[in-house]
């Protein structure tokens, strides 16, 4: 490396993307070292391509912070502006969160409502379709009780079916009445055998034996007929017609209003948990909105305070330059006491402290220092912009 002439060293450096200054006796060694550094980095896989620019790059980024002091305009610190965009992004994110949460809650409420309607409809339509068997069977044209030929058997079966239908309808009507307000003051859904028998016999005009045959048929059938036979002790199995104590319908017939009411209650019961959790989430959303609004208001108050402080410190400095003040710095507490009237000092305490922190970390023209003012050690603020710049503005 020492054999390189000045021109060659310069050419090598430029080839690697670095622009060197004059290569003199004092600078040659440093530039040679720089060249070695750059060549070593270029040999590495392109991980650290940024290594050359950062030093001049960093050197040119920092002046931007101080150069507004050289420009005529810009009262707003660039560091403050750079902090505003992350702040706006954080606000935007919380806005986004709020937006998505409210959308989600609206959707969930809508879904809940749809499910509610669905359950309602299912309960109302329910088992109504089973009652549509309108079959009118006339009574037997001839007396078939005693005969056993095929025709009579078929006819008897029809009559049996008729009895069963009638029984089914009667039982479901009674059950429906019982469920829906119980106007006849029934004690239970289960109808006594004797009552059922009387009713059916009266309506169909068939004999009580037919009724017993029907019961027998129900007992022997495996299908679910919608009629439940219950024994006297209400839980024992029914083995013969004689054991049957009362009859109950499994598909009660209920009026539309009654169905609707029961459906609503069932739906609410089923969706109870869902409903309450939604209410809670809505509550949380409203609370969060309130909080975010409060936080924004606090931020605004803080920025107002920061602006006022900057104005006060700057004015103090200007007055010091005109020899009206003794020191170029002003105590922090003095500023506070001059900006905030005594009655609101407690209320504005939080805003003030946030403003002080903001200035300490974000404001480049005001330094926070510790000095002895009027015999007392206190934290002070000092304006650091060179004075001739502000003078040239006027």
């Amino acid at each position: 490396m020492a054999e390189l002439t000045d021109a060659e060293l310069r050419k090598e450096l430029i080839a690697l993307g670095y622009r060197p200054g004059p290569i003199t006796a004092t600078t040659r060694k440093v530039y040679a070292k720089k060249l070695a550094c750059l060549q070593a980095e270029a040999a590495e896989p392109r991980r650290r391509v940024q290594a050359a620019p950062p030093s001049p790059g960093r050197g040119s980024a920092r002046p931007q912070q101080a150069s507004p002091s050289r420009q005529r305009s810009s009262f707003i610190p660039p560091a403050g502006a750079a902090r505003d965009t992350p702040k706006q992004q954080a606000d935007g994110k919380s806005r986004g969160l709020e937006y998505y949460l409210s959308q989600f809650l609206c959707l969930a409420s809508f879904v809940l409502f749809m499910i509610f309607l669905g359950i309602l409809m299912v309960k109302m339509i329910g088992s109504g379709w089973l009652d549509r068997r309108e079959e009118n069977f006339n009574l037997l044209p001839v007396d078939c009780d005693k005969r056993t030929d095929d025709f009579c058997q078929a006819k008897q079966k029809d009559v049996l079916m008729n009895v069963l239908h009638e029984l089914y309808n009667y039982l479901s009507v009674q059950a429906g009445n019982f469920e829906c307000g119980n106007p006849e003051n029934l004690k239970s859904k289960c109808i006594w055998v004797s009552e059922a028998k009387d009713h059916v016999v009266n309506v169909t005009g068939s004999s009580p034996q037919k009724f017993d045959a029907a019961l027998h048929w129900i007992l022997n059938s495996n299908k679910d007929l919608g009629i439940q036979l219950k024994a006297k002790d209400l839980s024992g199995a029914v083995r013969s017609v004689g054991d049957v104590f009362c009859l109950e319908s499994a598909h009660p017939q209920m009026g539309l209003g009654c169905r609707f009411r029961r459906a609503v209650v069932t739906a609410i019961m089923n969706l109870f948990l869902f409903f309450w959790s939604l209410i809670t989430l809505w509550g949380i959303l409203l609370f969060l909105r309130y909080r975010w609004r409060k936080m924004e208001e606090e931020e605004q108050a803080m920025y107002e305070m920061v602006k006022k402080i900057i104005a006060v410190v700057h004015d103090h400095y200007k007055e010091w330059e005109r020899n009206l003040e003794r020191y170029p710095y002003v105590g922090i507490f003095h500023v506070r006491d001059s900006l905030i009237p005594p009655q609101s000092r407690k209320k504005m305490k939080r805003v003030w402290e946030r403003a002080v922190d903001f200035l300490a970390s974000n404001e480049s023209r005001i330094q926070t220092e510790s000095h002895r003012v009027a015999g007392e050690d206190m934290l002070v603020w000092r304006w650091t912009q060179p004075s001739y710049v502000s003078d040239s503005e006027h």
Binding site: K34, A360, P386
Partner: protein, 90 residues
């Protein structure tokens, strides 16, 4: 912003004029003497070297370490001080 020393603030507050090299931030008695032996007896001469290196702080730091044996922190303080002075007055 309060991480700069009082020396730095004092230097950057006004044109350097004929100030000795010991008033630069990061340059104490020992380093100041070494620089004076090499011929850098005034702050403006060191400024000259900084400018010849095109205001490259890292390169200037290297040079300072080579010339008077400053450590990394002293070199960084001195370079930063000179750069701020340049931003303000140059």
């Amino acid at each position: 912003m309060s991480s700069t020393s009082q020396k730095h603030r004092d230097f950057v507050a006004e044109p350097m004029g004929d100030k000795p090299v010991g008033t630069l931030a990061g340059i104490g008695e020992v380093l100041g003497k070494k620089l004076e032996e090499k011929g850098f007896d005034k702050a403006y001469v060191v400024l000259g070297q900084f400018l010849v290196l095109r205001k490259d702080e890292s390169l200037f730091g290297e040079w300072l370490k080579e010339t008077c044996g400053a450590n990394a922190r002293q070199a960084r303080d001195c370079a930063g001080c000179l750069r701020e002075w340049c931003d303000a007055f140059l």
